[in-house]
Amino acid sequence: MVRTFTRRSALACALALALPLPAFAFPDQPIKVVVPTDPGGAIDGIARVFQKAFETNDFLPSSVVVLNMAGAGGTIGTRAIKDAEPDGYTIGLWHDGIVTSKAMGVADFDQTDFEIIGATGFADLGLAVSQKSDFASFEDMLAFAKENPKTVKVAANIGLPVHFVPMRVATEAGADLRYVQVGGGAKRYQSLLGGHTDTALFSTQELVQFQESGLRPILMLTEERVADLPDVPTAKELGIEVVAPSPRIWLAPKGTPADRLEILRNAFRDAMNDETVAQQLRDFGLNPTFVEADAVRNQLQVALDETLPLVPQARQVEK
């Protein structure tokens, strides 16, 4: 008796699951956004801009919760996104570090192991020196570096984009620099000011902020000059073919249904058309344009292709 009942209800459940449920439109429950950093950073801030936008407007029918999962160069968080149920209810935000983590062998996955929703803008990057530095311009520094290999010291976070991007510039320009583990943006700034290292990579936002307190931006890795720093030349102007935008990429687990991804994409597009959101993103030093998934995929592929040949050199930083 009991058994038949169980079987019958099991059958009913199976049938119910097999049937399409048009009544429950995606999303009908909160969407988890995994942020692979601690609260307070730039990436976390961007996630919260969208959380707020989805809360106050009707770009998305359900709310968004931000889950911070920092650690191991972001791979704790990105791994959690990758391994989540591919139902569209877990997504995440990350940047081009996804490429360098794979290149360094810290993660055994890269962007191709995710569905890419798109990028909500990108940060421009550039190199700076201390205002007390002997190098008046990037060309000065380059000329010196070419004559004296391994003497110009780059403050970096080994194995992350701030390490690989300057290395791409140096390789492209034909110079050999010395890379020193220093840490995050504030520490790199401190190291340059203390005269312990010569140059380091920063985002435009950091360049503008630190310019007032002792740094001199010398090179932008952008297609065109940046409005906030009109006097700083781009690498391209100097014949160095490195354009390294750092996109803010929204990821979903592989196998997330295409229609759900499209709903999310539309929500992001709508949010970015909102002037308040756009302004908040600009405050984070981002270009507030939605970058489509294909473009993001191409950018990341280029970054990966240019990073991989540098890995043997990158691993040799240690004496």
Binding site: D38, P39, G40, G41, L67, N68, M69, A70, G71, A72, G73, T75, I76, R79, A80, M104, G105, V106, K150, K153, N157, I158, G159, L160, H163, R178, Y179, V180, Q181, V182, G183, G184, A186, K187, Y189, Q190, S191, L193, G194, H196, T197, S213, A314, R315, V317, E318, K319
Partner: protein, 503 residues
């Protein structure tokens, strides 16, 4: 500088910051007074609760807790003969005998007053020293930091309570647990055994909560029946006359300076401060035989020094990002979690924040004095609160706090694991302070050493170009050798004397 300080004091006097300082001081005094609860516990537990708070509010709250907890310990030390916090151990030696012969009010009054003076003297040092020190520290490169941290580790090992071997063992164990995870110096994973949960290593917060809180919960739970019978304060006057203080001013000043200085030395906690100040007070006292039987001088020395230590230890924290004591290691973690980069540039980039911390420290000392003087009788009654009611709440807070950190269960298991480690260490009488300091400093030590080696082709020998770093190394070597040299010298002197007597 003076205008900065007054601006910050005005900020602390505004309602919301004042509320946090008041709350922090009160809670600090409470956990300080209840044996089995410590300031380290309270502050570690507060970190996750302050995630969403404004970072200035969060840190002034924690600094106030720190001040309160170091002071609260004197109540249970005096009335229960149980140090409420480790730093009030020395106060039990004279505070309790005094209270036992019916002078509880006077003993408490002396302790509270001495705490205030110690705190304020250290405050003067913070105000005067921090800016020049942080300016000097901007010239510090990786080798200087490496050498300074190395000196800190050696100092902890040599001055920590109990045997040097156990101190070293605890420090080494702390360093060992800091090794797994992504190694920043070469961007590679280390000792994770393919277990991805361990890719980020053990996080500071679960380790702290485990070692300080979880282990204490286990210890307290095993002795849940144990209760003290406090001596009643009665109607005795706690506020003492100025003439009493005039008699003690030399001792007060000396002990405060000792406390501040030991606080500045990285890695040495408040308990060492009060021990050194107590020993010094006894050696210069006119009646050294009174120490241990209810000497007023002993109480004053111990309490002035442990409060001064709090202030002293804040100096290396805010100027260099190097924790001066285990609790400062927790505050360092809190700063980082609130996205504030501790170090010499804190004064340049977040001057308002630093001055607010300093002002909160000063105000917390004054509030501590006011609260303790007015409410000591009621706090004395809280001391015997049933721990069966407290422990489950604290345990839940630990679990939630660890989970909230990275939203994963792994950190909760790490906390439980380190609770067992801490419990085992406490059972074997291995000190927890060096463990935590070793855990915190290992990362800084390694990263700075390797950064220094990456700076030039000379590798490690690049340190020969850095006189300040060499100076720190020399101090470390001397500290290591000194005890051995001292005993060797003493032996030789004894031998000579023995020879002289035989001939």
């Amino acid at each position: 500088m003076v205008t900065d300080l007054f601006g910050a004091l005005a900020y602390i006097a505004s309602p919301v910051p004042f509320f946090w300082v008041l709350l922090g001081t009160t809670l600090g005094i409470f956990v300080g007074a209840v044996p089995g609860l410590t300031g380290g516990m309270l502050i570690a537990l507060s970190i996750p609760l302050t995630f969403t708070m404004n970072s200035t509010h969060a840190l002034i709250l924690m600094v106030a807790m720190y001040v309160g907890s170091v002071s609260g310990g004197l109540i249970s030390a005096t009335l229960l003969k149980m140090p409420g916090t480790p730093s009030s151990v020395m106060t039990t030696f004279d505070g309790y005998p005094m209270a036992a012969r019916g002078e509880a009010g006077r003993a408490l009054g002396l302790s509270i007053g001495a705490s205030l003076v110690g705190g304020l003297v250290a405050g003067v040092f913070i105000v005067v020293l921090s800016v020049p020190l942080s300016r000097w520290a901007t010239t510090f490169g990786p080798f200087e930091y490496f050498a300074m941290v190395l000196m800190a580790l050696v100092l902890i090992a040599s001055i920590s309570q109990g045997s040097m071997v156990k101190g070293l063992l605890a420090g080494a164990l702390g360093i060992a647990f800091a090794l797994p995870g992504l190694n920043p110096s070469d961007g590679q994973l280390r000792l994770t055994f393919g277990w991805h949960e361990l890719d980020a290593g053990f996080d500071l917060l679960p380790v702290l909560l485990g070692v300080f809180v979880m282990s204490q919960i286990i210890i307290d739970a095993l002795e849940i029946e144990k209760k003290g019978q406090p001596i009643s304060v009665g109607g005795a006057k706690v506020l003492l006359s100025l003439s009493t203080w005039r008699r003690h001013w030399g001792n007060l000043l000396r002990s405060s300076v000792i406390g501040t200085w030991i606080g500045i030395l990285p890695g040495v906690g408040a308990s060492i401060s009060s021990m050194v100040a107590y020993a010094t007070a006894r050696s210069v006292s006119k009646e050294p035989e009174a120490f241990g039987t209810g000497s007023e001088e002993g109480i004053v020395a111990s309490e002035a020094a442990n409060n001064a230590n709090v202030g002293g230890a804040l100096i290396p924290l805010i100027t260099m990002g190097i924790p001066g004591s285990p609790i400062d290691a927790i505050l360092l973690g809190a700063l980082i979690l609130h996205n504030i980069q501790p170090g010499p540039l804190l004064f340049v980039n977040n001057a308002d924040f630093v001055w607010a911390l300093i002002a909160a420290y000063l105000v917390a000392n004054i509030l501590m004095f006011a609260i303790m003087t007015l409410c000591v009788k009621w706090i004395a009654r809280l001391m015997v609160v049933d721990r069966a009611l407290l422990l489950p709440v604290i345990f839940v807070a630990c679990v939630v706090g660890c989970y909230a950190l990275h939203n994963r269960m792994f950190d909760v298991w790490v906390m439980v694991f380190f609770g067992l480690v801490g419990f085992a260490m406490a059972r074997c009488k291995v000190p927890l302070g060096p463990f935590v300091i070793g855990f915190v400093l290992a990362g800084i030590l390694e990263e700075d050493l390797r950064s220094g080696m990456q700076l030039s082709d000379a590798g490690f020998w690049g340190i020969l170009d850095r006189p300040i770093a060499l100076g720190f190394i020399a101090v470390s070597v001397l500290t290591l050798i000194w005890p051995f040299a001292q005993s060797a010298l003493a032996r030789r002197a004894r031998d000579r004397r023995a020879k002289e007597t035989t001939t």
